[in-house]
C-alpha cells in the first residue's frame, strides 16, 4: 500500500445559516489521482479552499504525512500543497520565468535578482512540463490558454509540491492541450505526487483518475476505485437525493399554447445555433454545468450580446432586439445572476432601484413624477411583502431574499411577456424561495413565458414544464417534464450523447 500523504477526519464547515461540508473523511495517497465529483454547490470549492488553507474548518482535523496540521495559506504552501484554480493567476505582462518564480525570485548573495539561476530553474521546470518555450524572452500573456494553464502547474511544482489540486483544469483547453495535460499528470503520478482532480466531464474522470470521491450537498457520498464505478452509478451518486422541497403546482388548463418567443438558429458571440419556442404560460428550465452558456443565452435574448445569426420572433412577428432597451420595450425582462453586481445599485434606495427601468412611464417632459414613483414602488413593496422600514431604505442593507424581491418588483411593474430568470433563488432562504416559486406560477398563469436558469437541479425539475440542457454554448437536449430525471439531465450536461 502506498503512503498516505493527506488525511481528512470529520471535516465540517459552516457559513452563516448553511452547512457547506459535513463530517468529511478523505484520504490521498502518494502516486494517485483522486477524482472529486459533485454538482455545483456540492462543496468541492470549499473543500479545496480548506486544503489550501484559505478557509479553516469548524470541526475535524487534517493530517499531513501522519502528523496533524493546522493549515493556513502559508503553511499549506510550505507543506507543498498547491491548488490550481479555474481562473488563471498568470501575470500576462511578465515573462514566463518571472511568472514561474512570482514572489520568490532567486537572489544572489547581495540580495539582487539572480537571472541566471532563474533561467536555469525555469528551464528545468519547463522540461518537466514538456514545454518548448523560451522562459526569459516570452511574455506569459502571449501564450495560448493551454500553455498558460501548464505554467500555472509549473508555478506549483516549482515550490516542491507534494499535493496538486486541480479545479477543472481542462475547462478552457482544446483536445491537444488536454492530452498534453494528461501526460503531465501521469508523469507526476509516477513521481509520487498526490493529485486531486476536479472535473464535470465523465470521460476525463474515467480516463485519468485512480479513485473517485463524490460530494453531494456537503456530504461525502462514496469513494471507490475508478474501475469500480460506471458512468450511471457516478451520476446517480452525484444527483440522487431526497426531494426535501415541495414545488407549487401550476394550473395546466390556463396555458394558451400561443408561441411567445421563438428563436431560430440564433447565434451570438457566446452561444451557437439556438432553437427554442416558448409558449405563453410556459416555464422552460435551462440546465447545464457552469460555463455551458446558460447565462449567455439569457443575455443574448435580452439584447446584451449582439445576435450574429438567426432570427427572433415575438408573438409570431420577426423582431430585431438590438439593445437592452429594445428588449424591455418588447416586454422581455431579466433577473440577473449576480444581484449585487448586475442587479442593484446597492447604495441607493428601494424606490430608486424599483423605478430604474421605468422612467418613461413615470415622468412627464423628462421631469420625474415623484407621486407616481412612490405609488409604483409602494405597490411593489406591498405585493412582495418586502420587509423594510421605508421606501428610502438603502438596498445594500436588505437581506438577499428581500433584495431579490426588489429586482422582481422592478421587472414586474408592467406584466412582462417574457421573464428571464438567472439563478433566481441563489443565496436566499427557503421561505423566500417558496414565495419566488409561487410568483413564477402566478406570472405563468397570467400568460408570461418564463425561461429559468438554475444550477439547482431539483428546482429545474420541480418548476419547469420543459428542460433544455446546454453544453459548450449549444442546446444538446430538450426533455419534457415527464421524461426528465436528474440522471438524464446530468448525463447530457456532462457530455453524454
Amino acid at each position: 500500500m502506498a503512503k498516505k500523504i493527506l488525511e481528512l477526519k470529520h471535516i465540517s464547515k459552516e457559513f452563516p445559516g448553511v452547512k457547506v461540508l459535513q463530517d468529511i473523511g478523505m484520504e490521498l495517497y502518494e502516486g494517485e489521482v483522486l477524482g472529486l465529483c459533485g454538482e455545483n454547490g456540492a462543496g468541492k470549492s470549499t473543500l479545496i479552499k480548506i486544503l489550501s488553507g484559505l478557509y479553516q474548518p469548524e470541526n475535524g482535523s487534517i493530517e499531513f504525512e501522519g502528523k496533524e496540521v493546522k493549515l493556513n495559506a502559508e503553511i499549506a504552501m510550505g507543506l507543498g500543497i498547491s491548488a490550481i484554480y479555474q481562473e488563471l493567476t498568470i501575470v500576462p505582462e511578465m515573462t514566463v520565468a518571472e511568472n514561474l518564480f512570482l514572489g520568490r525570485v532567486p537572489k544572489t548573495a547581495l540580495g539582487l535578482q539572480d537571472p541566471k539561476a532563474m533561467e536555469r530553474e525555469s528551464r528545468k521546470i519547463l522540461r518537466l512540463l514538456d514545454l518548448d518555450v523560451e522562459p526569459m524572452g516570452t511574455k506569459a500573456g502571449d501564450l495560448s490558454l493551454g500553455v498558460q494553464q501548464l505554467i500555472e502547474i509549473g508555478k506549483a511544482i516549482g515550490r516542491e509540491a507534494k499535493v496538486l489540486i486541480m479545479d477543472e483544469p481542462t475547462s478552457s483547453l482544446g483536445k491537444k492541450d488536454t492530452e498534453h495535460l494528461y501526460s503531465i499528470i501521469r508523469r507526476f503520478r509516477e513521481k509520487g505526487y498526490g493529485i486531486i482532480f476536479i472535473s464535470h466531464h465523465m470521460e476525463e474522470i474515467f480516463e485519468i483518475t485512480d479513485r473517485v470521491a463524490v460530494l453531494r450537498d456537503g456530504n461525502l457520498i462514496d469513494t471507490r476505485k475508478t474501475s469500480q464505478w460506471n458512468v450511471d452509478e457516478l451520476v446517480f451518486a452525484m444527483v440522487n437525493r431526497k426531494i426535501s422541497q415541495q414545488f407549487p403546482k401550476k394550473h395546466p388548463s390556463r396555458r394558451t399554447g400561443e408561441s411567445v418567443l421563438k428563436l431560430t438558429n440564433v447565434s451570438s458571440s457566446k452561444v451557437h445555433d439556438i432553437n427554442m419556442d416558448i409558449s405563453a404560460g410556459e416555464i422552460v428550465g435551462i440546465a447545464g454545468i457552469v460555463g455551458a452558456g446558460r447565462t449567455e443565452l439569457l443575455k443574448t435574448i435580452f439584447g446584451f450580446y449582439k445576435i450574429t445569426a438567426g432570427e427572433v420572433s415575438i408573438h409570431g412577428k420577426k423582431k430585431h432586439v438590438k439593445s437592452i432597451r429594445s428588449a424591455l420595450d418588447e416586454g422581455i425582462v431579466l433577473v440577473p445572476e449576480d444581484r449585487k453586481k448586475e442587479g442593484l445599485v446597492l447604495e441607493q434606495s428601494i424606490q430608486d432601484n424599483i423605478v430604474i427601468s421605468h422612467f418613461k412611464k413615470l415622468s412627464h417632459l423628462y421631469v420625474v413624477n415623484n407621486r407616481k414613483i412612490r405609488e409604483v414602488s409602494l405597490a411593489g413593496v406591498n405585493k412582495y411583502k418586502i420587509r423594510t422600514p421605508s421606501l428610502d431604505q438603502i438596498v445594500g442593507k436588505l437581506s438577499g431574499g428581500n433584495q431579490q424581491k426588489v429586482i422582481l418588483s422592478r421587472v414586474t411593474v408592467d406584466n412582462p411577456k417574457i421573464l428571464l430568470l438567472d439563478e433566481p433563488t441563489r443565496g436566499i432562504d427557503v421561505s423566500v424561495k417558496m414565495e419566488m416559486y409561487q410568483e413564477m406560477i402566478r406570472l405563468a398563469e397570467a400568460g408570461t413565458a418564463i425561461v429559468m436558469v438554475s444550477s439547482e437541479l431539483p428546482e429545474v425539475l420541480g418548476m419547469a414544464d420543459r428542460i433544455l440542457v446546454m453544453r459548450e454554448g449549444r442546446i444538446v437536449a430538450a426533455l419534457s417534464k415527464e421524461e426528465a430525471t436528474s440522471e438524464l439531465v446530468m448525463h447530457y450536461a456532462t457530455g453524454g450523447r
Binding site: 435580452f302 446584451f304 439593445s323 437592452i324 432597451r325 428588449a327 424591455l328 431579466l334 440577473p336 453586481k341 448586475e342 442587479g343 442593484l344 445599485v345 446597492l346 447604495e347 441607493q348 434606495s349 430608486d352 423605478v355 430604474i356 427601468s357 422612467f359 418613461k360 415622468s363 423628462y366 421631469v367 420625474v368 415623484n370 412612490r374 409602494l378 413593496v381 406591498n382 421605508s390 421606501l391 428610502d392 422592478r410
Partner: protein, 318 residues
C-alpha cells in the same frame, strides 16, 4: 394591512456637517475681523466663489457618474480668449456667448466620447484636453493679455443688478436649475444610477454611455459659462485666467459630500463646499495671512473634511 411610508429627501441628508463647518467658519471670521460680516464683503465672497461654483456644478455631474473632468481651468482661459478675439472682430455679444458655450459643449462632447466610446480613463483624457486647451490659449495670445472687450460682455463678470453682482446671481441661478435637473429629472436619476452601479444600470435598460457623455457636455457648457464670467471679472482675457480652478472646485465637491467613487453627491453640497473654500480664502485675506499660508490652510481643511467623512463612513460600517 398595507403600509405607507413617509417621504424623506434622502440625497439632501448628510449636508448638516457641511453647513456646521460653514457656520463655524463664518462665526470665527466675524469675531476675529471687523470687516468679515459686512454686506460689501459678503458680496465679495460670492463674487469670488462664482466661477469656482459654476465649474463645480458641472463637475458634480461628471463625478457622480464616476468620472473626472480636469479641463475646467484651461477651458475657462481658452473660452475667454476666443470670446475676446471674436468680440474684437466686431461680432455681436449675444452671438459670441452662444458660440463659446457651444465650443464648451463640443470640448465636453469630445471628453465624453473618448471616455465612453474609446474607453479611455477620464482622468487622463481630460488631463490631455486640459493641456491642449491651455496650449491653444497660449498659442493664440502668445502669452499676451487681450483687453478692450465691450461693456455688455464684461457685465456678466463685473456688472451689478440692484447693487448685487451679476456673477453671484448667475451662480445661484445655475445652482437652482441644475439642482432641479439632478434631483427631479429622468436624466438626474440616471446619473445616480450609472454612478452607483454602471452594470446594473445597463441591465436595467439605461444607455449608460449616453448618460456619461451628456454629463461631460454639461460640464463643458458650464466651464464655458465660467469662462465668460471670469473674463468679465478680470476685464480682459489671458491664458492663465482659470488656472487651478478645477482643483478648487473639486475640493468644494469633496467637502460638499460628493463621493469620488460615484453615485453620491448633490449640487447644494457642492455650492456649500465652494462657499467654504471661498470664505476661507477671503477670511484669511482679511487676517492678512500670506498667500502661501492660505494654500496650506485650504489643503488642511480639505484633508479634515474628507477624513471626517471617512471616519463617519467607518462608524456606520461597524
Amino acid at each position: 394591512m398595507k403600509k405607507t411610508y413617509e417621504k424623506v429627501p434622502v440625497r439632501i441628508k448628510g449636508l448638516l456637517p457641511t453647513i456646521v463647518i460653514l457656520v463655524i467658519m463664518c462665526a470665527f471670521f466675524t469675531i476675529v475681523t471687523d470687516s468679515f460680516l459686512t454686506y460689501k464683503n459678503i458680496k465679495n465672497v460670492l463674487l469670488q466663489t462664482a466661477c469656482m461654483s459654476i465649474v463645480g456644478v458641472g463637475l458634480t455631474f461628471v463625478v457622480i457618474c464616476g468620472h473626472f473632468d480636469l479641463s475646467g481651468g484651461s477651458v475657462i482661459a481658452l473660452i475667454g480668449i476666443l470670446a475676446a478675439k471674436m468680440l474684437l472682430a466686431g461680432w455681436n455679444t449675444g452671438l459670441v456667448i452662444v458660440l463659446v458655450v457651444i465650443i464648451g459643449a463640443l470640448i465636453g462632447l469630445f471628453n465624453g466620447l473618448c471616455v465612453t466610446r474609446l474607453r479611455l480613463v477620464s482622468f487622463i483624457v481630460t488631463l490631455a484636453t486640459s493641456i491642449m486647451a491651455g496650449g491653444l490659449a497660449l498659442a493664440i495670445t502668445s502669452g499676451k493679455t487681450i483687453s478692450g472687450m465691450p461693456e455688455n460682455f464684461l457685465w456678466f463678470g463685473s456688472g451689478k443688478v440692484g447693487g448685487f453682482p451679476v456673477a453671484a446671481i448667475l451662480m445661484l441661478l445655475l445652482c437652482v436649475v441644475f439642482h432641479f435637473v439632478l434631483s427631479r429629472t429622468v436624466y438626474g436619476h440616471k446619473v445616480y444610477a450609472v454612478g452607483g452601479n454602471s452594470d446594473a444600470a445597463h441591465l436595467a435598460g439605461i444607455n449608460t454611455k449616453n448618460v456619461v457623455t451628456l454629463a461631460f457636455v454639461v460640464a463643458g457648457c458650464l466651464n464655458a459659462v465660467a469662462g465668460i464670467v471670469m473674463a468679465g471679472r478680470l476685464g480682459c482675457a489671458l491664458s492663465t485666467a482659470g488656472s487651478g480652478l478645477e482643483m478648487n472646485a473639486l475640493s468644494g465637491l469633496v467637502i460638499g459630500g460628493t463621493s469620488m467613487k460615484g453615485g453620491k453627491g448633490n449640487i447644494i453640497g457642492t455650492l456649500l463646499g465652494c462657499l467654504i473654500i471661498g470664505t476661507l480664502t477671503n477670511g484669511l485675506n482679511l487676517l492678512n495671512v500670506s498667500a502661501y499660508w492660505t494654500d496650506f490652510v485650504r489643503g488642511l481643511v480639505i484633508f479634515l473634511a474628507i477624513t471626517f467623512d471617512a471616519i463617519r463612513w467607518f462608524m456606520k460600517k461597524e
